[in-house]
């Protein structure tokens, strides 16, 4: 489910979870685990670390539930926690190297596309994921949050503890590096 969709049933589950109902919280985890894991994977570009980040994000959310006043949707809230956890864990595990993730990338339904276009699109996604994995963590975080998840510059800067100008500089650098890695200097796709 996309993060923007509303899940009306979250309200009841949240209420029960806030009162200590672990089964209700498990239902919330079940409903949001794929989105949270995907966000973590895009940010850290490492499946094992992404699973750790997602788990830690849910555990922090559980502990913070009594303070969650429902001003934002649960999905928005858990995404913010995930970004914070990813950022702190990636810094801690800075020696951990990123693995290529393309070989296990799950293909979305290619409805409406010709086989040639679908193959081309899938190939582009694989190359893009590989190129993203080669970016430095600070640069990749900004590119993912802005260009994949469409976060505003100010929110990205706030979550990463940097200035808006620094966020824009990293974004500029990241896009340029992606362009260079996806196409060589004469413009031929690798």
């Amino acid at each position: 489910m996309a993060s923007g969709e509303v899940r009306p049933e979250d309200g009841d589950l949240l209420l029960r979870a806030r009162n200590g109902d672990r089964a209700a919280f498990s239902e919330l985890v079940r409903a949001h685990q794929n989105e949270v894991y995907t966000l973590a994977l895009r940010l850290v570009a490492d499946r094992e670390l992404a699973a750790d980040v997602a788990q830690e994000a849910f555990v922090r959310a559980w502990r913070a539930l009594p303070r969650f006043r429902g001003e934002a949707r649960f999905s928005t809230w858990i995404h913010r926690i995930t970004v914070n956890v990813a950022w702190s864990q990636r810094r801690r595990a800075s020696r951990h190297r990123a693995d290529p993730i393309a070989e296990v990338f799950e293909e979305p339904a290619a409805g409406g596309l010709s086989p040639e276009r679908a193959a081309e699109s899938a190939d582009m996604r694989h190359r893009l994921l590989d190129a993203l994995a080669t970016l430095s963590d600070p640069v990749r975080s900004v590119v993912v949050l802005k260009d994949v998840y469409d976060w505003p510059h100010a929110e990205i800067a706030d979550h990463l503890g940097i200035s808006v100008t620094a966020a824009k500089v990293r974004l500029h650098r990241g896009r340029r590096q992606l362009r260079e890695r996806l196409w060589d200097e004469v413009g031929v796709a690798r």
Binding site: A2, R22, V29, V36, Y37, T38, A51, A54, L128, V148
Partner: protein, 119 residues
């Protein structure tokens, strides 16, 4: 590559939506195949990044189990103030109980001494 080509190349990564450029650079880009190709690459990059946001990866099966294991104890849903009040109340009840027990013990000792003193 002309200076205008360089200027177009430098401006493209800063654009959130790669739109048609205005002014001199825009006019240059309409006639320069190199700049048109470069603009098309950035458009494709933006589209591909945006499309990535629509793809969801399946979380590993161990994720839910790991969370459930980690949250073995329920969260503290009671505000700290109420916690303190409850603690104080429990203390008062315990003290009262201890005083009552001590009084009962003293009374028992006094009664025993009376009985044994009388004999």
């Amino acid at each position: 590559m002309s200076l205008r080509c360089v200027a177009v190349r430098l401006s493209l990564p800063a654009m959130d939506r790669v739109a048609r450029q205005e002014g001199r650079l825009g006019r240059h880009a309409t006639t320069c195949l190199r700049c048109q190709a470069e603009t098309a690459r950035y458009r494709k990059l933006h589209r591909s990044l945006e499309a990535l946001g629509q793809v969801t990866e399946a979380a590993p099966d161990s994720l839910l189990a790991g969370v459930e294991h980690a949250i073995g104890s329920p969260p503290r849903a009671v505000p700290r103030g109420e916690d303190r009040f409850a603690g104080r109340l429990a203390g008062i009840v315990a003290t009262a109980g201890a005083v009552a027990a001590a009084a009962a013990g003293t009374a028992a000792v006094v009664a025993w001494r009376r009985v044994h003193g009388a004999t």
